[in-house]
Symmetry: C2
């Protein structure tokens, strides 16, 4: 938080008291499609992904969150509606979770956090417009190669089939590119 806003040392425990800490095992689900989108999650250790099950029955990842990232279905959360997405731990993961109601209280006690989340969401929204550009502009091969070059940590930690899913590629296609790269 200190990257974007100034918060007193003494305020951190107060801010933290709004959150619950959860230890998730790999593959644990913390959000399910069809349920009210009631929480926002912050990753302390590990990795989450948010995905949906397509009409054809395959799981497609729309967003990851590594350490220091926030994740929920931000639209359903704002509208207080049911979500279309599932959220799952990619590996053993430690998160902080906060309910919609507690987050509103938090904003009232610490209005500076409106600024913090304004910046977080501005970056998220801005980055998603750039992702759209990459998906439209690059060849399938370059989408994969640029992603793994820019985010080497993902390529090492996240299973290939999830990265393929996030980039709109098939796992078979990613295997082909990797084989080509090695040869």
């Amino acid at each position: 938080m200190r990257k974007f806003v100034s918060l007193e040392d003494a305020d951190f425990p107060k801010v933290l008291s709004y959150f619950d800490e959860l230890d998730l095992n790999k593959k644990d689900l913390i959000m399910q499609a069809g349920n009210l989108c009631s929480h926002t999650y912050f990753v302390m250790e590990g990795c989450l992904h948010m995905y949906f099950t397509s009409k054809k029955g395959t799981e497609r990842t729309v967003q990851f969150a590594l350490e220091g990232w926030w994740l929920t279905d931000f639209l359903a959360h704002h509208n207080r509606t049911n979500t279309d997405f599932n959220m799952q731990a990619v590996e053993n993961t430690k998160v902080l979770s906060i309910t919609y109601g507690k987050q509103e209280q938090l904003y009232r006690e610490f209005p500076i956090l409106e600024r913090y989340f304004r910046i977080i969401h501005q970056i998220g929204y801005g980055a998603s417009l750039h992702k759209m550009k990459h998906l439209y502009d690059l060849s399938k091969e370059d989408i994969y190669l640029q992603f793994t070059e820019h985010f080497p940590e993902f390529a090492q930690r996240v299973p290939q089939y999830l990265i393929a899913s996030f980039l709109g590629l098939t796992p078979e296609y990613v295997s082909e590119i990797r084989a080509k790269k090695r040869s």
Copy 2:
């Protein structure tokens, strides 16, 4: 603004004084790829679109803004870097524009606007994750039909080739769907 935050009547002229009003003719460019992303725009009347020129030389729209919407390259704006996008008036358009520096001053004078833009960006980011779902999940035909059903105003006001571009379809494909729908 009043939809999301409470602001006194007397404060509106003060808020407005941070902005410049611009009258754009159809096709006028207000942001160009390669330049510093220095402004955020609010559409009062008309429509803007933000696009890039692909490696193949075609223009691809990543975002529209109708009346009441905010638009810029939010990532470049936050990072104070050059943008990869162009922004153009789709029709004769009246906008309010604000520089990065003035917007920071505005936040200092009216911190409640951090909340307003936090909500605006949260909705924008959330909606872009849902757009990703639609692009992955729907057939090309359904992408077009759902979009024009949910946003009939766009279908009426925005040229077909721009809607096609925004949805990742070719103009020829959109013509086919429309012909099929009519028959």
